[in-house]
């Protein structure tokens, strides 16, 4: 499953999610449900800023794993794993635990898909040729 497939599954499973963007630490977009590429990039940059600003509130060297910003208009979710982040928006009063679960599943799905495609394909077995004395 690649990033696009993971995001497609996410929006199909979770009707609460309006938009989602999968991106790298440096806000490089890996996949997005937004059709507009510059909008997806701006979304990723803003979500990365949210996480960085939230991390700055702690004096110790502790990282932020996830965040939910809840407003009257809707909510913004940002979740990170070791290498990537996913950010999504929902309508007002979402089922928070369920959205976090779905976002983590999408992150895992995208990572697993990449690992699968990065694996070297096994070489096709060559048919054993009969030795001279055989047959």
């Amino acid at each position: 499953m690649d990033a696009a497939q993971a995001l497609a599954d996410l929006t199909e499973i979770s009707s609460q999610i309006e938009a989602a963007v999968l991106f790298e630490d440096d806000a490089t977009v890996v996949g997005s449900t937004l059709s507009d590429a510059p909008a997806a990039e701006a979304f990723a940059r803003a979500a990365a800023k949210l996480l960085a600003d939230a991390a700055a509130f702690r004096s110790s060297d502790v990282g932020v794993t996830q965040l939910e910003a809840s407003t009257q208009e809707g909510s913004v979710f940002v979740v990170r794993d070791e290498t990537r982040l996913i950010a999504a928006t929902t309508g007002p009063s979402p089922t928070v635990g369920l959205v976090f679960y779905d976002l983590k599943s999408a992150l895992r799905g995208a990572a697993a898909g990449e690992a699968q495609s990065a694996k070297p394909k096994p070489r096709p077995r060559r048919k054993k040729e009969p030795l001279d004395g055989e047959a």
Binding site: E18, A46, A54, T65, A69, S70, T71, Q72, S93
Partner: protein, 69 residues
């Protein structure tokens, strides 16, 4: 007779109070907030009006508005 009347009034008052609490909870305006979860397992809830939330909530509102545009 007076005791029954007193219990009736008390029951009515309790019901009225419970009803008003339920109504306020279900229709009351939720405050905007940001919940931040850290990798050491701790969590921080920043409510609207705090200096920290004032920094994060505008970014979140912009994101939501941008998606719906």
């Amino acid at each position: 007779m007076a005791k029954r009347k007193f219990l009736g009034v008390l029951g009515f008052g309790t019901g009225l109070f419970a009803g008003s609490v339920f109504y306020r909870r279900s229709t009351g305006r939720r405050r905007d907030r940001v919940d931040v979860y850290f990798d050491d397992g701790s969590m921080m809830s920043l409510v609207d009006g705090s200096p920290e939330a004032e920094k994060l909530l505008p970014v979140a509102r912009d994101l939501i508005a941008a998606v719906r545009r």
